[in-house]
Symmetry: C2
Subunit: 73 residues, 2 copies
């Protein structure tokens, strides 16, 4: 079954790529046109983001969705 | 900007992998514990699925999220 472990794994991937870009959660949120608290919630696996938000976040990080998800089981 | 083109691209990827497994939308929905109409809506880019649903769908297809998203920009 799917569990919150999946959301946590997605959040860790997002954080990994954000840190690689050297930008803050607030900066990422601004670039992606998402709420400032939203990125933190997603990174901690506390928010079940949508596919559209996933595309926005990847785009704001300058990577593809394929890259963002490249280590997800 | 993100557009419905992103949801359509995700839907095409989902359909690609479902057809490769040779199963129907209904069969996939059953395996993923999702509503029977849901898979069709997602495949047509008419529904903004969640990250959790993405994990469920990949698992039901016997592939990783990384594979499911491997061609998404």
């Amino acid at each position: 079954m799917t569990s919150d472990a999946d959301l946590e794994a997605f959040g860790r991937a997002l954080r990994h790529w954000r840190k690689q870009q050297g930008i803050s959660q607030e900066e990422l949120a601004g670039r992606a046109d998402l709420h400032r608290n939203y990125v933190g919630l997603v990174e901690r696996g506390e928010r079940n983001a949508s596919i559209k938000s996933m595309f926005k976040l990847a785009q704001a990080l300058g990577i593809s969705v394929a890259q963002l998800c490249s280590n997800l089981r």
